[in-house]
Symmetry: C2
DNA sequence: CCAGACCTAATTTTCGAAAATCATACCGTT
DNA sequence: AACGGTATGATTTTCGAAAATTAGGTCTGG
């Protein structure tokens, strides 16, 4: 990855504000910025090399996504975590994801099947290469995200996909939170494989059941291994 | 604190940006700013009396809510409307609202019942007073919003309530869109009464059925009377 | 010693100028 | 006339100084 000195001021054709929103989002999801941590402008200014107002715009956008907590006249902080919030995010994810899987299975065409199969294939490849700590591998994170994205991509509702994406981000932050304390990842590969097969064979009820179990067991895992981070709030 | 003779620039304790976000949201929902209309800074600056960056922050927040469309490097515009978007918003609302009604009916306590009954009462009072064009009456709009809010308020999930609120706003904009062309409002009072009774008597299945019909028939109404505004996009 | 008013420093929030980018009209060439 | 490049004006985007607000510490009176 390019050094920050070499890195262009902003990504392809986009505004600096949008770029910083993206970078901040990644850092918050990865818990490089800890939950509840104050986001002071001096610090951010130095870290991201942007002005007050540009940073403010990025923080406002992330506040609307639920990753940042805006305290009027008292600045911003990384959205705190809690057991209650984890439960809410999990339940909301199940509600939305189940609906989108059903729609995608009903509406998905050949391209959808190909996307599901190929994104799973890539995910498994990466897991074979280094089965240790998947969440620490940026490539695994991207591949994992793309597989789940592909599963629901044929649902036909940009509105619900946007909501799903926000909930996915918030859930991923909790996964990172517990990643450092989890002794060994469970058998996600097998779960993903089963979900893919249920989806491709158009077995909606089975796919829905597997997805719900997948989401809930991940959340349970977080609740167990990050318990000490969730109760002190 | 300078007690200026002029009216206060903002609501007490809030930032100007938050205040402008609120005012812009109201105007977009009410279609005082037409769908698709470009939001140029000179114009907004004069209308809202704020600087570029403050306005930019407000527009960014509204973009995250789906009421404004940010076109990188080419400014902002009011989010366009379309038949497809109306369908998506309606379906998403049904999905979320049905879930929240179920939870509220299961969990609601005495205070919840009181809130449902009293907000409906107020709504009916306002309708009696002036049964003509409810959407043009700010008081009716607030009362209507508060009744529906009360119905789901006991669901126990701030996360889902926030998602619901965004979808409600987007749907309300469509209602305003058709309000000018609808010959006569249908019998909403009766529908609200029936929903309240089903909720209070803890008949979840009936309440869900009524809510879904309520949402869908409203959307159908919009699709009919605002057809000429939805197809040209 | 405590409560509360006051002052100062730290921090956020807002502003308008300046830089960057986009849209359009103009011009010369094929 | 069609095309492509370029200058020009319009508009957005970014910046850092300045204003506004909060946080924290000090002093005073009871």
């Amino acid at each position: 990855m390019p050094d920050s000195a070499i890195r262009p001021r902003k990504e392809f054709g986009k505004t600096i504000a949008a770029d910083i929103t993206h970078r901040l989002r990644e850092e918050i999801i990865a818990c490089a910025l800890a939950p509840g941590e104050p986001l002071r402008f001096d610090v951010l200014r130095e870290r991201f090399g942007a002005s007050f107002t540009t940073l403010r715009e990025a923080l406002t956008a992330l506040a609307a996504e639920g990753l940042v907590d805006a305290q009027e006249q008292r600045g911003f902080r990384v959205a705190p975590v809690s057991r209650q919030d984890l439960i809410e995010v999990t339940d909301a994810r199940v509600l939305v994801e189940v609906e989108l899987i059903r729609r995608s299975i009903q509406r998905g065409d050949d391209d959808w099947e190909i996307a599901v199969i190929s994104t799973l294939h890539r995910l498994k490849r990466i897991e074979q290469r280094d089965p240790e700590h998947p969440l620490r591998d940026p490539e695994w994170k991207i591949a994992h995200r793309q597989f789940h994205q592909a599963l629901v991509s044929a649902c036909g509702s940009a509105t619900l996909l946007a909501i799903r994406a926000e909930l996915f981000d918030r859930a991923e932050r909790y996964r990172h939170l517990s990643a450092n304390f989890r002794p060994r990842p469970r058998d996600k590969a097998g779960e993903h494989q089963a979900i893919m097969q249920a989806a491709i064979s158009r077995n909606a009820d089975l796919a829905v059941q597997l997805i719900e179990a997948h989401i809930r067991s991940t959340a349970d895992n977080v609740a167990t291994y990050a318990a000490h981070l969730l109760d002190t709030e």
